[in-house]
Symmetry: C2
Subunit: 736 residues, 2 copies
């Protein structure tokens, strides 16, 4: 029974959760009435059930499959007009659904579009948690639990996902999530090489190997360029090429004025680009603020940590050592959260016309914040602590004021002289191991294990609470008491899904990009890094699948033709990697001196190394890009052929089938061959010419062209001229 | 009379020059017969006249304007299919020529296409100087002398060309030459700023000013990015967007095998990309060869020059000083010519499928050769002579062997000790002045004045020769003796045009790109450089017009949507400029020491400066690129509107006009409004539902959806549920 229920979503396409505010029942009722009407008007059927104590579940499906086919047809026509589809959809809307089958994702996307598209464009105009629809808490499709179970079981058994698995994810969850899985999968497969090479070089070459650095840099370039190409091929495979050119207008966009297009006569919302550029300049102070705020926290904690672990020798050292970590763990998320909000507000202020542009601008800001929080500490170790520690440590003096109360005698407080102080030679490697292993494990716990524990806990707590209430005699009527028995399991499941959080693919992508950054920037410190990431990413993909299918609501399928601005981040990190890696290799590869410091660093040699490394990287990138662009693939061939077939069909319809082959029309002379035909035509045209002559006054040009009235005459005259020429006769020469 | 003749080209579209080889009259006659026939077959009318002693002039025009309209129509259909035209051409070929007027360039392009397009595609398949058509010496259109005269007169009076002037050039000479003029014009206008700023900074700041360097670098970025945008706008204005996607197959392409496309079933010539990539690897040895060969010559001459001018003090110094210049002038063109031929052969070997790809590959090789010949000398002065001269000059000793015969005593031969030797502090500036002024004047002389003198001279010589022949009694019959009197002037003109060389726009473009390179890389040495270039380019444009209209045959109009790979060269030079300029400023701005050498160069500071300068440049470039991409322009708006109108028209034709506005169909509920309509529909659908129920066995889903049969029932049930909720009533609260 339970299994059967799992399979059956009762044909429900979407669920809308309507929250009735706890102090205004009437407003809730009015809102509900409006919701039901507007959905009916848009062509959607509804069923209502109780949600939790103060919410309703409105189940939605297309009222009429015939009318829904028209919706799909219109969407496909629009795609075709924007060049996303090569092939024009069949004209009959009724055939739409049968001629080209609808994937679950496409169906859900259509229904979601009907629910959320503005009323001016024919939709219901529901804007969850926003404007007049504030009490609509969520609009989400139901999970396909059979497929979810199958994925979880299958993926756990496999090492690599097949292209068909990716297709299935795309068919069910939409292209955006499909792209994330495809990226994760490509990245994972590509990691085999640096993992294997990293392991060998860890054994044979040790840390800071120049050979590993070169191979790793090359790998980064090839991977990024390969993925760019892969994106294009997926766009063809999934029919989403150019999909970003259909730009959904942002609801929050505030036009400065409405202008009328002089050619089309359409009214358009207008916001001057110059004004937006000026607002975008605020990104510079924002970036500075991020650097200063996060930088200050991280640097301070870093300094405290070094002071306590390597200088301070007083009481409570074993406890105080954790102090900076605690400060960091508390402050950094709070501050970066605050900065993210700030960035969000700035992005709103920048007032983009399309959601795409808005997201792009936001992601680039988020990347800056993440870059600082993720990489600053290890940058400090590499490029400040190691070269300058002996100079800087004495200034950490100021912290002695803080630890004074704990000090037992003056000596403990004395900072060591530069000669005494020794740099911890393993600090940088330990830090890298932390980022490569520990941080990944912690992150997996926070991301995948924590939510399920929290959910289980909350459920248990609620159950206990209601049990206690029952025991105390108060018969609080459960919302599920009135459920029809055959729907009981289904409704319980829907209520659970409604209480889950939304799935955010951008977070998962960001995690992977940041991981790629560690690999590109610092993996030369510890060549086992790729091995760790390889293992981690196998788990990551399964964990993300678990999160997507069990711990979150099913996401609204969205289309995409790329992983978006993260691609730029990948390129940037690979580039930066060519600089940091060269610097790290130069500074650390020579082995370390007795004071833990690397051999004497010669600044010009360091800079020259970095300069060369960066430029070699750029040249190699140009070559790899060129080489990859020239390699043909099945998807590219498919697209070309499709385009060719479309053209051919059009020309055939227009009675011009031979344009493909003949860029010129067949001349009548060619159609019938032989001198006979020539002669005929010639006589005809001669007569024609003569008639024309007699009608018109002869111009100089006419007289010029009438010297030789036909090709035959021209031939004769020309041969005569050749005969007059003072040149040898070929036959004479031959006979001589 | 002379003026009238100038105007009249007797409606001749094209002229074909057929050379009869001096030892085989019969073969010439056969070739001629074939030519006349194949032209007639293609739908072209011919008239034959004598050319010079051993050649015929075949005048060509479209035989029938109706048939020619069909040719134009097909070409426009093809453009439309490839997305070059937004608007579909009218279906009636007869209307083609009237509905959208044909520019002279388009007409000539069509005729040229008819003459040169392969026979398999319906053309005459003439390949001048190639294959079976080796004796066809030239295929060229006739100059429009009225327009040419007008241009020469008008341009001489104007400072700037107007967009209409550019349009006129494009209409007459084709887009490729139009792009060159547009580029020259943009570049010239942009030069005003650095010219003015350079002049002021020459007066106020002197040479090697950091401020000038920054402004100049910024200017380079803005100019290159602006031009990129300008190119796109011109492509829209001239309707050539994506024109490079119609790729003319190269006749010389040698496919490895013929494969059959699995989808379209077309046979395609195939050459594996991998094999081509392998062949392209040969570019590396070629580049090395260029560097070594040209580098050796230039370095040697440079060393000799320094030795003679600054070390040697023997007899004949005043003559010997010119020795390196003479060697350079003789050797460099010869060697670079040889290398260019080598590059050409390599490009042929790389076996590109399209002319476009072939030209691109060739230009990138030519750029390498030009880069070395143009900039190496000044690189040597800046980065070898100045910092290392004192170390290197003693080694120039070896040259004393060469000058030994001239030496009068041992002392003259003695190389100076490093302490004695002083660097010529003005050398770098003098060199820059040479490139900025002298070289430009010399180049103008070589390019524009020389050919006209040569032509005049040759003409005079011929006249004298024939006059002498006449005097000697030999009545050599002049070829023009038999010309009809009314055609005499015309034929003389055509014979003259036939003897002119082809116009090569790539050479002129290259010249400008190299000039831009001097500006970007070295103008900080002498801030008057842009002033000189500004003046030079005013003359250059007029000189090029003179060359194009008087000194060369009228070129075959070609389409283009860009200046092609030269754009990459511009970007590269601007980038490199950020490096060299920073280095020059650092090395020279501090003033020079007593020995002519700049202040002590600190290598790490130099590298750090270069590193920062380059990265600031790259960041600024990203910002400028972004800002320019966001600025809207009239051309872009026009294109968007046009695309919109095309879509609208299509949808109107398909009866879907409202798709533009409504992405969803109007639901029947919406069409008729009010509760009345709701009630009707509801009753209908209820009955429908009931009927369906009775027909089908009820599934769980059907039962689920039949709880509330209409939106009205759903509303009622939902309101009941809200009533049951344990929340406050809004009205109660208000009344409290």
């Amino acid at each position: 029974m339970a299994h059967k229920v799992l399979q059956d979503n009762f044909e429900v396409d979407y669920v809308i959760v309507l929250r009735v505010s706890s102090d205004d029942k009437q407003a809730g009722a009015a809102q509900f009435q409006k919701l039901i009407r507007v959905l009916a008007e848009t062509g959607l059927t509804t069923e209502v059930r109780r949600g939790d104590e103060t919410s309703l579940l409105v189940f939605v499906k297309a009222a009429d499959e015939q009318a829904f086919a028209e919706v799909v047809y219109r969407s496909r026509i629009k795609d075709w007009l924007h060049g996303i589809r090569q092939i024009q959809p069949t004209k009959d809307p009724a055939e739409t659904l049968t001629s080209e089958p609808l994937t679950p994702a496409e169906r859900l996307r259509m229904i979601h579009h009907m629910i959320c598209c503005p009323e001016e464009e024919g939709g219901a105009g529901i804007t969850p948690k926003h404007g007049q629809w504030k009490s609509v808490e969520a609009v989400f499709p139901l999970h396909d639990h059979v497929k979810n179970k199958k994925w979880l079981a299958e993926f756990a058994r496999k090492t690599f996902l097949t292209p068909e698995d990716l297709d299935e994810i795309r068919n069910s969850m939409g292209e955006q999530i499909g792209y994330y899985y495809a990226f994760l999968q490509s990245y994972f497969s590509f990691l085999i090489f640096p993992a294997a090479f990293g392991f060998s070089s860890w054994i044979l070459l040790g840390n800071f190997s120049a050979i590993y650095a070169v191979v790793n840099g090359l790998w980064c370039v090839v991977f990024v360029e390969y993925w760019k190409r892969q994106e294009q091929e997926l766009a063809i495979r999934w029919d989403v090429k150019n999909v970003s050119s259909i730009e959904d207008k942002r609801r929050e966009f505030v036009p400065e004025k409405t202008i009328t297009d002089s050619i089309t006569g359409e009214k358009m919302a207008y916001f001057p680009a110059k004004k937006r550029l000026q607002r975008q300049l605020l990104q510079i102070p924002l970036a500075i603020l991020c650097v200063v705020a996060l930088g200050a926290i991280i640097c301070t904690c870093y300094a405290i940590e070094i002071f306590i672990s390597e200088v301070y020798d007083g009481p409570l050292k074993s406890i105080l050592v954790f102090l900076p970590t605690i400060i960091l763990t508390l402050l950094v998320p709070a501050v970066s959260n605050y900065l993210t909000q700030f960035a969000e507000r700035l992005t709103y202020y920048e007032n983009y016309e399309t959601q795409d542009a808005h997201d792009k601008a936001m992601i680039s800001k988020v990347f800056v914040i993440n870059f600082i929080t993720s990489y600053l500490a290890i940058f400090l170790t590499s490029f400040v602590y190691v070269p300058f520690a002996s100079l800087l440590v004495p200034y950490l003096d100021i912290f002695s004021l803080t630890v004074k109360p704990f000090a037992q005698n003056e000596k403990q407080m004395q900072p060591p002289s530069p000669a005494q102080f020794t740099i911890n030679p393993n600090r940088i490697r330990d830090q890298m191991i932390y980022f490569a292993v520990t941080a990944q494990v912690v992150n997996f716990g926070m991301e995948t294990v924590m939510p399920i524990l929290t959910q289980k806990g909350t459920k248990k707590y609620k159950e206990m609470q209601s049990a206690r209430a029952e025991k105390n005699g108060g018969t609080v009527p459960s919302v599920s008491a009135n459920d029809p028995p055959e729907e009981k399991d289904f409704l319980t499941r829907v209520r659970e899904e409604a209480s889950l959080p939304d799935y955010d693919v951008a977070t998962d992508l960001r995690e992977m990009v940041i991981q790629f950054g560690y690999l590109a920037l610092f993996s030369v410190i510890w060549p086992l890094t790729p091995v760790s990431y390889f293992i981690n990413n196998w788990i990551e993909l399964r964990g993300d699948t678990f999160k997507l299918t069990v711990e979150c609501r099913r996401p609204n399928p969205a289309r995409a033709d790329s992983i978006g601005p993260w691609l730029d981040s990948l390129e940037f990190l690979a580039w930066l990697g060519s600089i940091t890696t060269a610097a790290l290799v130069y500074m650390f590869s020579g082995g370390q001196g007795p004071d833990g410091r690397p051999h004497a660093i010669c600044l010009w040699a360091l800079l020259l190394g970095v300069f060369c490394s960066e430029h070699i990287f750029l040249v190699v990138r140009v070559i790899v890009r060129y080489a990859i662009s020239k390699v043909d693939s099945a998807a590219m061939r498919k697209e070309r052929s499709e385009r060719f077939m479309v053209r051919k069909k059009f020309l055939e319809d227009a009675g011009l089938a031979d344009v493909i082959k003949y860029s010129l029309p067949k001349s009548p002379l060619k159609a019938t061959s032989g001198d006979q035909a020539f002669a005929n035509i010639t006589r005809d045209s001669l007569e024609e010419d003569a008639r024309r002559d007699s009608l018109k006054s002869t111009t100089a040009a006419d007289r010029f062209w009438n010297h030789q009235r036909s090709w035959a005459e021209a031939e004769k005259v020309g041969l005569g001229m050749i005969d007059l020429m003072d040149v040898k006769d070929g036959t004479e020469k031959k006979s001589q």
